[in-house]
């Protein structure tokens, strides 16, 4: 509060300085005489030109959904978790299968760990197949991650899998840094428009992730802590 008042005072002083400095009835310190007119006309034209240019930019019809509330997100976490255990993720609304792998594997034990020894909070659900067909099928499910009302799913880096001998290694292929910009309407517009509260949220929701493994009947998985068993 204090800081913002001081900031406001400084801005007010700067503005007062500019207003006085360009002294309306005095000869301007910055512009000589009749060029004032041209500067002002130039500014007006510049603004009009930017309106025109803006119209020429192709616009996509990307419509932002209203922000997901905390309750909706909690609900989704629960549903996602339950569906994961039941193996019904394919039919859960909002869950997305983003990757699948098939590995040939015929050893009795499988080590599961993260590749660069940093923690990856992915739940692993395993389902034993009824046969020993010597293949591991892996599916990666997640949901929609949001920041405010922006879909940031693509910015949340996905896991990748690699089979190295008897170890299945989980990793994040890259660190993703994304900067999103969002144009919001001026407060004098939103004050009188219906959809005003739409843009106000600042919450980020990261969707849960599940790695779903279908393994041969006799295979034993060791080491990985965050594993949900069916």
């Amino acid at each position: 509060m204090m800081m913002s008042i001081i900031l406001l005072a400084i801005i007010a002083i700067v503005i007062a300085g500019v207003v006085k400095g360009s002294g309306a009835r005095k000869q301007s310190q910055w512009f000589s005489g009749s060029s004032t007119k041209w500067f002002i006309a130039g500014y007006a034209l510049f603004l009009l030109a930017s309106v025109l240019i803006y119209q020429l930019i192709p616009k996509t019809d990307e419509v932002l959904k209203p922000e997901i509330t905390q309750e909706e997100m909690n609900q989704f976490y629960n549903d996602f978790h339950n569906a994961a255990i039941k193996g019904e993720l394919d039919s859960l609304e909002g869950s997305i299968k983003t990757a699948e792998w098939v590995f040939d594997y015929d050893q009795p034990k499988l080590h599961l760990r993260t590749k660069y020894s940093n923690h990856i909070s992915v739940s692993v659900v395993t389902e034993r197949k009824s046969t020993n067909d010597g293949t591991i099928e892996a599916y990666y499910y997640t949901g929609v991650s949001t920041a405010g009302n922006i879909d940031i799913s693509n910015a949340v880096s996905r896991v990748d899998l690699e089979l190295d001998g008897s170890t299945l290694e989980l990793m994040r292929p890259e660190v993703v840094e994304r900067h999103f910009a969002q144009f919001i309407q001026e407060f004098t517009i939103t004050q009188f428009s219906e959809q005003k509260r739409l843009n106000n949220g600042h919450h980020t929701h990261i969707a849960p992730e599940v790695l779903y493994l279908k393994i041969p009947e006799e295979l034993e998985i060791v080491d990985y802590a965050n594993v949900l068993w069916e």
Binding site: G23, A24, R25, K26, Q27, S28, G33, S34, T36
Partner: protein
């Protein structure tokens, strides 16, 4: 018809009385000199006429209206002095153009000719002008506006001698071509003497005198001679000035209502009779004491 009428006008600024009851009337189409020492209240009076200030008491009528906040008065009266507030964002030629927009009788051609004559540059700014140039420029506005009442308050401040003369000639010529009521204030009577029809002298916030200039010139007479001879002559006269002029000799300026015979007699008795120039008379009249600065030194 009186264009300007003032009755017992006073003006008090924060307990200081600038005008202490001024009454006068000014006839249409006359050039009147408003003369007074510095601080006598000339400017205050003229600014009241222009509607800048409001009288504290008394009655002021300009063109039969009260001038304060009066648009009719403002449209038909222009007040020109060296303090005229003009925005410096405008060039001089812009200002003339604006002035033309305000005054119906504006003489654009006259303004332009004077502008060229005094070698102004159209792109110049008011704040970059020297004091004399400023006064000259303001004078151009005052003349070209052709207002029924034109007030010049010490218009020649800072002007050099040549420009001053040009100004008075221009004023006179334009007045003859387009007669109007002109008030011209100055603290130098001799400078404006040739122009004036009437003089109006203000002293210490009061009307001292308001007479035609010709009367003013003959109003007083100077007598110099032996104290014992001069004193009886002036016993029933109004003395405007009195100074000791050597031992037992004196010089007095008194109202001139002597008859020819009286003057002749005085001359015979050895009194020097001399006319008094109007500017000397003005100085004597407006001195605080009868002896002027001499009194400061003659304390015995």
């Amino acid at each position: 018809m009186s264009v300007i009428e003032c009755k017992d006008v006073t003006k008090v600024y924060r307990n200081i009385a600038a005008l202490k009851g001024v009454s006068f009337a000014i006839e249409e189409n006359k050039i009147t000199g408003v003369i007074g020492r510095n601080g006598a209240g000339k400017s205050t009076m003229l600014k009241i006429l222009a509607g800048f200030l409001k009288e504290t008491s008394g009655e002021v009528h300009v063109l039969s209206e009260r001038p304060f906040n009066n648009l009719k008065v403002s449209a038909n009266l222009i007040y020109v002095d060296d303090q005229m507030s003009l925005p410096t964002s405008l060039t001089l030629s812009d200002i003339l153009e604006c002035a033309g927009d305000f005054y119906r009788n504006w003489d654009k051609e006259l303004a332009n000719r004077l502008f060229d004559y005094f070698s102004f540059h159209p792109k110049q700014r008011h704040n970059n002008l020297s004091k004399g140039m400023k006064s000259t420029f303001n004078m151009i506005i005052g003349l070209a506006a052709r207002c029924a009442v034109t007030i010049f308050d010490e218009p020649t401040i800072g002007m050099d001698e040549a420009v001053r003369k040009d100004f008075y000639r221009a004023l006179l010529k334009d007045y003859i071509a387009y007669p109007r009521t002109i008030l011209l204030s100055s603290h130098h009577l001799h400078e404006v003497e040739d122009l004036l029809e009437d003089v109006f002298i203000i002293k210490e916030g009061k009307t001292l005198l308001h007479v035609p200039l010709t009367d003013f010139k003959e109003m007083a007479i100077g007598l110099s001679g032996d104290l014992s001879i001069v004193n009886p002559l002036i016993s029933d006269k109004e003395v405007y000035h009195l100074e000791e002029n050597g031992i037992k000799r004196t010089y007095v300026v008194v109202e001139n209502n002597f008859t020819e015979a009286e003057l002749h007699e005085a001359k015979v008795k050895g009194v020097d009779v001399s006319p008094v120039s109007s500017s000397d008379l003005y100085v004597f009249l407006t001195n605080k004491t009868k002896g002027g600065i001499e009194d400061v030194f003659n304390r015995g």
